[in-house]
């Protein structure tokens, strides 16, 4: 059993799974925003990053890790809500490229302001679990307590979001507002409020990702820590379909595993190139995503 568990293939799969769940979470938050407001949010990595900085600023007041995590989530909810109210509201009904350009600008501003306040030197964050990999019969195993925590947290969040949408009244209202806003309005649903809530939720999902990623053993929290995750998260969402949460998560996990194999068997440079290639091919074959049920064409 041990040789199997520490074999190259299993190591790659487990390592890829660890990264893949973060891509999947980010892809999920992208899908949440797309489905509720029809906007591709390029600042989807930067907003949680900023919330993480705000939350962990409490460290200097001698709060522990878990209280800071709670603070991060609260900060994320606030940032998501404010962004929707102040920035995104003005963009409904405008040409498609306007929101994209604005969110790219927002990405730049958030990273610049974070670096202006907290500097771009990497910030070490405390970690609740050790990052040292377990050893099986003297050989390193691909998982450590921290990576298990990462995977479990990600799965819990995904299930929670799924449960929210499927089983709660709020979830039903969110889905209705996205699908048929006029009808929902007529039925008494406060569409505007729910759009704000959609953004808040997606930023909260993003901040979980950011917290998991920033406790990176190597260098910690920097303003650009989410850039790579965003790139792969977007690719996963585009491949799986911006309309489909399940597709986004699946594509994210698969992409993470594929990446790990590419790093191991090819080389590091090839990873993003191959990911780009997969994206291009998948968009040519199914432009609206692999997992999208109906192929709509907006006329």
């Amino acid at each position: 059993m041990d040789p199997f568990l520490t074999s190259r293939v299993v190591t790659d799969i487990l390592g890829g799974l660890t990264n893949g769940v973060t891509y999947g979470l980010l892809a999920l938050s992208l899908v949440l925003i797309w489905r509720s407001t029809g906007i591709l949010n390029f600042a989807q990595g930067a907003m949680p990053m900023f919330a993480t900085y705000l939350g962990f600023a409490l460290l200097s007041y001698h709060f522990g890790y878990w209280p800071c995590v709670v603070a991060c989530v609260i900060a994320a909810l606030i940032i998501g809500g404010l962004t929707e109210r102040l920035l995104v509201r003005r963009l409904y009904g405008k040409p498609e490229i306007n929101p994209i350009v604005v969110m790219v600008g927002f990405l730049i501003v958030l990273e610049a302001v974070a670096a202006a306040i907290w500097s771009s030197t990497p910030r070490s964050l405390p970690s609740p679990f050790s990052s040292i990999h377990w050893q099986l019969a003297g050989k390193p195993f691909a998982l450590s307590p921290f990576t298990v925590y990462e995977i479990v947290t990600a799965l819990v969040v995904m299930l929670a979001v799924a449960a929210l949408f499927r089983f709660t009244n709020l979830g039903l209202q969110l889905r209705a507002s996205a699908l048929a806003p006029e009808v929902s309005r007529l039925l008494g649903v406060r569409v505007g409020r729910l759009l704000t809530l959609g953004w808040m939720l997606s930023t909260a999902v993003g901040v979980i990702t950011a917290i998991l990623v920033s406790a990176n053993f190597f260098s910690g929290l920097t303003p650009t820590v989410m850039d790579g995750i965003f790139a792969y998260g977007f690719i996963a969402a585009a491949i799986g379909g911006l309309e489909s949460p399940v597709g986004a998560i699946t594509a994210g996990v698969v992409l993470g595993v594929v990446n790990q194999f590419v790093i191991d068997f090819v080389n590091q440079n090839a990873v993003i190139i191959i990911a780009l290639g997969i994206l291009v091919v998948s968009l040519m074959v199914r432009p609206s995503g692999v997992f999208t049920k109906s192929s709509q064409r907006r006329v």
Partner: protein, 488 residues
């Protein structure tokens, strides 16, 4: 602009052309909105009036008057007056390479400021050091300067400067070699260990300063051969001159690594250090007991961190570029019980703070006297590698100026530099150039990291090597000694 709920609108637009507008209502999730489709009909053209000609008439008269503008009278020696000598450098003050490296030029400037204040400059000329931020040529990552070394070098040349002193970076300085040469501006003491600065025939005004990565590699090879004979050695280096020259030096010195990997800096930054982990994993599976790192501090951290995670602890041999204990240990403080760099062997061409070199208190004194650039630095502050490096080349420049004499021209300065051996410098070995060798310092000793702030010499024996294909390493016979009296 009137909006009807439907129909055709007819308007004249900004150019005077006619615009027909079709306005139709559409239903969106926000409610009713109007959508417009414009069809433009050209009905008019414009003329440029004779006032345009009148304007150009004025221009023409200015032409005639302006054609007597002659070239400005050039100063005798660019950048040099009776009272001041102006030198410049392009440095990563902000941006990706700035943490740590932005202290280097500031330390040199502290030396110049001190010499200006305490000795009224050299032969009455105060030294003005103009530092331009080129962000290591890399935009983004907090760059506030101009991420283009050529642009910043042009700006320096326009001042004009007597020479560039201590500009940092291999690719950045490579890109302006031709520019500086064609303008006759000396490119002095480039802050990089590449062998590119040692091309005296092609670039007579170009001088390196620190020992080359190649020399360092040879000295490492000697150490590894004698301390770990027959061990499996693995190498990880940066994917440019730094790693490639270092590897070549290692091999020339007699150590052939089992596995040699080169990492790329943009990859490193993009993945927050994770790009290095597969290499370390590879080293572990190949059972390497000695790992040589030709890495910048960020990559050193990534390698040490990856090894920690995998439970892998080889003997580390780290290049002087990326071994500064304070810089390297910073991310690990509080996360691991002991600094992972402790016990690593590295190379140093400047005296460590644990020795009793007279230069250590002198440099401390000079830095303390500069609270503008080094606020809060006191005699009990850590004198890290970056500060020591900058102060050292600052001293070299000042000594070279002194040796040239009052009659200062570019030619006389370069001649002096290639003739004189500077044996009272902060570096362990004297600084010496010749008409055929522009590399600079060629030796140092091996040190070991003892804490997260200090290193101490391993044996204290100083070795020298050269940058040729010859792998020989010899013990240094002449070391530098003391501070010149006029500088104290």
């Amino acid at each position: 602009m009137p909006r009807d709920f439907s129909g055709i609108d007819c308007e004249r637009d900004l150019r005077g052309d006619l615009q027909l507008r079709f306005v139709t209502p559409t239903l969106t999730h926000q409610g009713f909105k109007t959508r417009e489709m414009d069809i433009m009909v050209k009905t008019k053209t414009r003329r440029v009036t004779i006032t345009g000609t009148a304007l150009l008439l004025v221009l023409g008269l200015v032409t005639a008057g302006g054609s007597v503008v002659g070239a400005g009278a050039a100063t005798k020696v660019p950048g040099v007056t009776a009272r001041q000598i102006t030198i410049g450098a392009t440095e990563p003050v902000t941006g990706i390479a700035s943490s740590g490296y932005n202290q280097v030029a500031k330390a040199a400037n502290a030396v110049f400021k001190w010499v200006n204040a305490h000795h009224h400059g050299i032969y009455g000329r105060k030294i003005k050091y103009v530092i331009k931020d080129d962000c290591y040529g890399t935009p983004g990552f907090g760059c506030t300067g101009v991420p283009n070394t050529a642009t910043q070098t042009h700006a320096l040349l326009g001042i004009p400067v007597f020479a560039t002193v201590g500009s940092l970076g291999t690719p950045t300085q490579d890109s302006v070699r031709a520019l500086l040469k064609s303008n006759g501006v000396p490119q002095l003491f480039v802050a990089s260990g590449s062998r590119d600065w040692n091309s005296a025939h092609k670039y007579p005004g170009l001088f390196g300063w620190q020992p080359s990565y190649n020399e360092e590699g040879k000295i490492f090879a000697t150490y590894i051969k004698s301390t770990y004979p027959g061990a499996n050695v693995c190498f990880m280096g940066q994917g440019d001159d730094f790693g490639q020259d270092g590897l070549a030096g290692l091999i020339a010195g007699g150590v052939k690594p089992l596995s040699a990997d080169l990492y790329s800096v943009p990859d490193l930054v993009a993945t927050n250090g994770a790009s290095v982990a597969p290499y370390i994993q590879d080293f572990q599976s190949k059972k390497c007991t000695v790992v040589v790192l030709d890495t910048i501090p960020g990559a050193t951290d990534a390698a040490l961190g990856a090894a920690l995670q995998l439970g892998y602890s080889p003997h580390w041999v780290i290049s002087s570029v990326g071994s500064d204990p304070q810089t390297v240990d910073a991310p690990f403080v509080g996360k691991v019980p002991t600094d992972p760099e402790i016990g690593a062997v590295t190379f140093s061409y400047l005296p460590t703070t644990t020795t009793n070199s007279a230069w250590i208190p002198w440099i401390t004194k000079v830095i303390e006297a500069d609270p503008t650039d080094f606020p809060g630095f006191t005699s009990s502050s850590v004198l890290n590698g970056n500060i020591a490096y900058g102060a050292a080349y600052g001293v070299s420049f000042v000594e070279a100026l002194m040796a040239t004499g009052k009659n200062l021209t570019r030619a006389s300065f370069l001649k002096t530099l290639q003739r004189v051996t500077f044996s009272q410098t902060p570096s362990l070995v004297p600084l010496r150039y010749s008409t055929s060798n522009h590399q600079g310092l060629n030796g140092g000793y091996l040190t070991t990291v003892i804490s997260n702030a200090a290193m101490k010499p391993l044996t204290g024996k100083v070795y020298t090597a050269d940058s040729s294909t010859d792998g020989r390493v010899t013990a240094a016979t002449k070391l530098s000694h003391g501070i010149p009296s006029w500088l104290k």
